[in-house]
Subunit: 420 residues, 2 copies
């Protein structure tokens, strides 16, 4: 539904030479400089039009895979009731240290959702009573608020961010395990499609009170906050936090064969067992008329964090580099000079691209070639298409992939077909 | 991107006979009973899959019109800095009585956005410096939090809701006025497309400190919180709050020709003048090199409130009634009985509708005809298509519009073409 094309003379954001001085993270520095995000405060960013295009593409890739899993989308509230979270002993700041809390006019204390496991579990009591009502999978893209003490990884760890959280509801451990395995495979495919597959490892991590392990999807990057131990052959890893002789044996790997590496968690899947359904009373009547607690799982991905990790993995010394699936536009059309024939030809190509449904960013500004090329490199659209007096005289545009060293001429008549 | 078809046996929500006892509003009662929303607390609702389909349709109608206005979509933060809002004297609870406030770990007080005029104005300082950078229009769909003392109008007034807020930035009063007029026309078209045009009046309301008037779009409904005075001929109205001899004269109407009516505000457009840009320092250099403050406007629509008003306007004694443009599905396929031939024929039609891209809700549950018809009426999809042993023997389905008294048979071979 967004506008698939944009003239840079009209774009609400601008590029800038320097990032804010207080911004330490490479991902945020580049995204701010290129006009994808705006820094409001430490750990608080606004998403600008270019950034929202990327974020929507990431979210739509995830959404499609969630729907493919048979999951149904909902949207829950930020506001959280204290008495609900007290039932699972997660209201107290000593138990959960990222709560933002506030008060209704009548003095009632309420929290702002940093997770929705409790609220989702409670809600499902209205919709699950019999074995016929299960299994179910429900997800949302919802704005989480987390009172992080420090925020220094740019958009990879913020005080507020959209999270895709999926919850599964099963009748038995076996049914849960089956869904969990499917979700695991779907997560791997999501990170492939997001361009992170090559560096992303299914990682054994702490399972909490209920399960032996949870699984994280960890992407190798120096900007990561985690240390993992990689088994390259099996493409799995162990998070440092659970590394032990016992775990090595359980996973079936030798310490000497593992490589230590820094990584960022891009996704997390978690068996909750009945740890939520029991205290919150989410149960169903089985085929024999026996009441049993629902077996649950919780599955998260932070789309903005994914965007940050993509920046960290792909960017080069000139700026952002977007994989095709998540690029804000497919082509960056750069018009050089104000020569009337060039303006006419570039406007015409732009209109043709728009008509063909190609997502195109058109640099129609009165800027120098150097400034325009620097901006194109900074913004990182996969293909740059330059039109100047010289190329137009040859009925051509200069085609340069963002990651290629060399450019080459392409006939104007062939451009649309090449980009569709 | 959502799934366009659904088997009711798999649907995460269920219908219910009774609304929660503490729910006073008709819109919320029906939406809860039909499984479109879930009530978490007073003024706090979750949007369920059926409700999210409606909400997304409403938002996409609005989004398309915003893009048509040349507005660019962004996404700002809930968290708001105190010092920003102090600059316009809107931090203090004595000035703004709907703030939710909370604290960072280091004790810094922050607010949760109930509006984004201040944050948007401040942000635009980064992107506007010259007359060449204007005009601009920027919008978002963002989760507003408002600490309402009472919440008794269902989803028409909640403590948390997605709002479409648009902001315009112009070089002069004249340029602003031109955009404002365009926005006004676009708003009228939006309410037409949402099915509310017939009962929605452009209404003169208080303009605040800067402008003589703001304009509200008020939809006639007994569930509304406002009283307006309607001029039927010109299809305009005056809000009770500004009603005076002076205003009657300014608007050019006679009191005796106006009809008093209850209405709900579904949209609001507002000239801010330089009331934000001056204190917050958003200025531009004009063609003569003179620094001038940007002239602003603010334009809101609450999609969930619109959904509530649609319910109030269209619902009948049997349940919800959705106008086609915002209906969760285009057709509700109801299979009666478990006869093998009927199941086979209904499954086949469902698959054909899915393949044809028709949005279809398929009642494949083992329920009585009475229960299924009651649910179909409650959910309110525009067309109900019933298949039973009797209709299948005639290679037909029974077609009944939600608002029609009578049903008629349609040949199965013709159904898809009729619905596409």
């Amino acid at each position: 539904m967004e506008t698939k094309h944009m003239r840079m003379s009209q774009l609400a954001s601008k590029t800038r030479k320097e990032a804010p001085k207080d911004e330490a993270a490479k991902n945020a520095q580049l995204l701010i400089r290129a006009g994808f995000i705006y820094k409001d405060a430490a750990g608080v960013y606004a998403i600008l039009p270019l950034g929202l295009r990327v974020l929507n593409k990431i979210m739509n890739i995830i959404r499609k895979e969630m729907n493919g899993l048979g999951a149904q989308e909902v949207l829950m509230s930020s506001l959280q009731r204290r008495e609900l979270w007290e039932q699972t002993n997660r209201w107290d700041d000593g138990q959960v240290d990222v709560w933002f809390k506030t008060k209704l006019k009548n003095g009632t204390e309420v929290g702002l959702g940093w997770s929705h496991e409790e609220q989702m579990t409670e809600m499902m009591r209205d919709f699950v009573s019999s074995y016929r009502d299960l299994p179910r999978a429900i997800y949302q893209f919802q704005n989480k608020l987390r009172n992080e003490t420090r925020a220094k990884s740019g958009i990879m760890r913020t005080r507020e961010f959209i999270m895709k959280d999926l919850y599964s509801f099963s009748r038995s451990e076996a049914e849960h395990e089956e869904f969990y395995k499917k979700a695991q495979a779907v997560y791997s495919r999501i990170f492939e499609r997001l361009g992170l597959g090559e560096w992303t490892y299914l990682t054994f991590a702490s399972g909490g009170a209920f399960a032996q392990f949870s699984h994280e999807f960890q992407t190798l990057t120096d900007a990561g906050e985690d240390m993992i131990y990689i088994d390259h052959k099996r493409k799995i890893a162990i998070n440092e936090e659970v590394m032990s002789e016992e775990v090595l044996e359980l996973v079936g790997v030798k310490r000497s064969e593992l490589e230590e590496a820094k990584a960022a968690e891009v996704g997390n899947i978690f068996s909750l067992g009945t740890s939520k359904s029991e205290p919150l009373g989410l149960q169903f009547t089985d085929e024999n008329g026996v009441a049993r607690p629902v077996v649950m799982g919780s599955y998260g991905i932070g789309p903005a964090r994914v965007m940050g990790v993509i920046v960290e993995r792909y960017a080069d010394e000139k700026g952002l580099v977007w994989p095709e699936n998540v690029a804000p536009y497919g082509v960056h059309l750069v018009r050089l000079g104000g020569d009337e024939a060039v303006v006419r030809a570039a406007d015409k190509l732009y209109e043709e691209l728009v008509a063909a449904g190609v997502e195109v960013l058109y640099d129609d500004r009165d800027e120098s070639a150097g400034a325009k090329f620097a901006d194109a490199d900074l913004i990182g659209v996969p293909v740059r298409l330059t039109m100047s007096k010289k190329t137009v005289e040859q009925d051509s545009a200069e085609w340069k992939a963002r990651t290629a060293a060399e450019a080459h001429l392409v006939k104007l008549a062939e451009v649309v077909a090449k980009l569709k």
